[in-house]
Symmetry: D3
Subunit: 159 residues, 6 copies
Amino acid sequence: MPLTHLDESGAARMVDISGKPATKRAAVAGGRVVMSAEARQAIADGTIPKGDVIAAARIAAIQAAKKTADIIPLCHPLPLTGMAVDFRLAETGVEVTAEVSTTFGTGVEMEALTAVTAACLTIYDMAKAIDKAMRIEGIRLLRKTGGKSGDWSADDAPD
Amino acid sequence: MPLTHLDESGAARMVDISGKPATKRAAVAGGRVVMSAEARQAIADGTIPKGDVIAAARIAAIQAAKKTADIIPLCHPLPLTGMAVDFRLAETGVEVTAEVSTTFGTGVEMEALTAVTAACLTIYDMAKAIDKAMRIEGIRLLRKTGGKSGDWSADDAPD
Amino acid sequence: MPLTHLDESGAARMVDISGKPATKRAAVAGGRVVMSAEARQAIADGTIPKGDVIAAARIAAIQAAKKTADIIPLCHPLPLTGMAVDFRLAETGVEVTAEVSTTFGTGVEMEALTAVTAACLTIYDMAKAIDKAMRIEGIRLLRKTGGKSGDWSADDAPD
Amino acid sequence: MPLTHLDESGAARMVDISGKPATKRAAVAGGRVVMSAEARQAIADGTIPKGDVIAAARIAAIQAAKKTADIIPLCHPLPLTGMAVDFRLAETGVEVTAEVSTTFGTGVEMEALTAVTAACLTIYDMAKAIDKAMRIEGIRLLRKTGGKSGDWSADDAPD
Amino acid sequence: MPLTHLDESGAARMVDISGKPATKRAAVAGGRVVMSAEARQAIADGTIPKGDVIAAARIAAIQAAKKTADIIPLCHPLPLTGMAVDFRLAETGVEVTAEVSTTFGTGVEMEALTAVTAACLTIYDMAKAIDKAMRIEGIRLLRKTGGKSGDWSADDAPD
Amino acid sequence: MPLTHLDESGAARMVDISGKPATKRAAVAGGRVVMSAEARQAIADGTIPKGDVIAAARIAAIQAAKKTADIIPLCHPLPLTGMAVDFRLAETGVEVTAEVSTTFGTGVEMEALTAVTAACLTIYDMAKAIDKAMRIEGIRLLRKTGGKSGDWSADDAPD
């Protein structure tokens, strides 16, 4: 009946990166909130009652990136060296892109993805009085640089 | 040159709900991680090196729901009364559903959506060594009950 | 040599409010950042390199109010029902006012004060490249309503 | 191969307490740090280089109680209405007792236990330069009152 | 009446480690939850109503290790490079061991101890419906390596 | 109608410090709580009902310094290497000074300022039953050392 050494059979662990050198790494992630024309227009016009959607979503993204290791159980806590978030009005809603950098032994893909999702959730929150049927779509890694596994880009990543 | 009373012109605020009665409310949100057949198989087989993906994603979802007001700037902090997360293997990856309940003056849509995104991010994190091109898709509200605005379901929400 | 029952002699405790009814309460706090004319102008013009100071300070204030019980050891955690922050350009810098409300057994004075200080710290952070000698002054309670001790206003509180 | 409805077979969930009335509840937990005579003496004399051990441990306990739902995955977040921590010098080290109260639909046993462990960990941290072999022992619930399951005391709980 | 320079007389401080080189360090801590045969059996059988105890306790341990500096006042925040948790069914309950590593100027003893206590608290939380009299016992440091003070093992640490 | 590349026009960002070397840096900030003679006396006498004000404020300051990047949106998270807080009874109330150090690519001015404000807020919280009209005044940077911009002192900083 022993549960002994459950680690051998699929138990969660924070992977040991102590042998990896601290090098410069960056990641870019993207995603979008698909919404009604009315919601999109209200965001563009700045008439959402809860306030300026883009400004709030941007701060939410930056703050969430710093909380990544608190939100995602097996992520290593790491010191971010920079971060920026970009928003674009697309035909079907709002597109979000986040770029994060660090100098550490592991990459910042999860920080960039977490930032984008926090921005999208904030947009949903602020506009949901207008449109409850909004959807968050296409959250994905667009690009990463640095680290042992090298650079990587999504096949169809925008420049 | 005064910025006086910027609140009048689009500034973010936490909406006053002090006049709303504390009533029972619930929300269900869903989403999915679209991935390669290889990644999907490794999750199903429990052979992901970082450990049991579903168990970790489930705890991540529950913990993130409790942090919603910390992640989304204008959300009210509120006491959750219950929460469950469900995972299904779909043809193209893993589907996540989260149900959250409270007895409070505002709803838990954002808590359900935050739970689902945290689960999806955790799945991405644990399987990204196999497939970096995974995408988080279709994060949306499926159903809400309770509150002044009444019940609501997505047009095509599964039962 | 026993330390026995140190509680009797000045030990910190979270005061028991379980006998107090949950009633509607609000508090308004104010404060200001005194700065050089150059820094003040850059904030007014929106030319601070770190970005829009007021938008960031506003979100910082709202988020900090929710973290009050985490920052101030003996504060009770409580569910905020509403919050707004106001910024004004004064002759010597930027003035901040925060209003917070709850329906609970204790007041929200500390939440309002914490919000104002977080806004002031954020202003300092964003403008410090221009003026390191800025000072945060006059953080104080302006008004509180509700609760057993009743309403209270600072002698010279602005309307 | 479906993982469908894993909830049926042992998956973690936050138990639904929405049907339980908010009533007054309290819990008392205890524990102790067993240490060398030298470490015990240094704490009693206030000569630990890191500073006043008891004052730090007390604040740590209060702050940790408020973070219980963040530390223990399936705990409900709840509004504490009061809390006190007591320390006694015992023959073999330091004894800690924590009492927590709430008015909510579930009890505060975990909050009391979390407070005691945080106090014990803080004592260990501050005295470990003197004695690395300290042990935290006997963390347990001493008493609970209120709630549907009624009052409960450990068989040998001190008065 | 001055409190001047209270630091000289026992005030808490975060010890200055800026002169210490960042070197590889690790620590292993252990502890156990002593429980009734019924509770132990339910955990082994996976029939605890709240869900899979070991999976939840493991994630709780990993997440708590990352929060150590937030729980223990004088701990330095530090970047963990790896972490694993092991559970064993013992005759009297469940034994927990946690191993943590970092490359930093101070050790990770507190992170390992915090991880073990969080796991034990989670086990208590999930099984307390069956046995309220469970006790957390024997939380202690088993081994540390690296750092100026060198390696250390508890006299009777298991291999 | 595109919001495209809002970053170009004043959007908040976390400044990229990845090119800056990790060097030793320190900062000292100060501030004070101005209060009635009665409140000041109660703090000096240790007769504040909530407990030992200075001990609680000191821990609050240390804990808040570690949370700086969580409170101030554009601050980089960074590993503190040391911290101390000092309190003095002044004629008009209590003066607080905090010193923080790190070895990192950016300075710790905000950490020192955040520590001082958290200490002041805690003093206010604990003494507000005696004096609601207390004011937090003169929060400012006194000194910084290290980093590319070099050392800096306030014109009238005390030694």
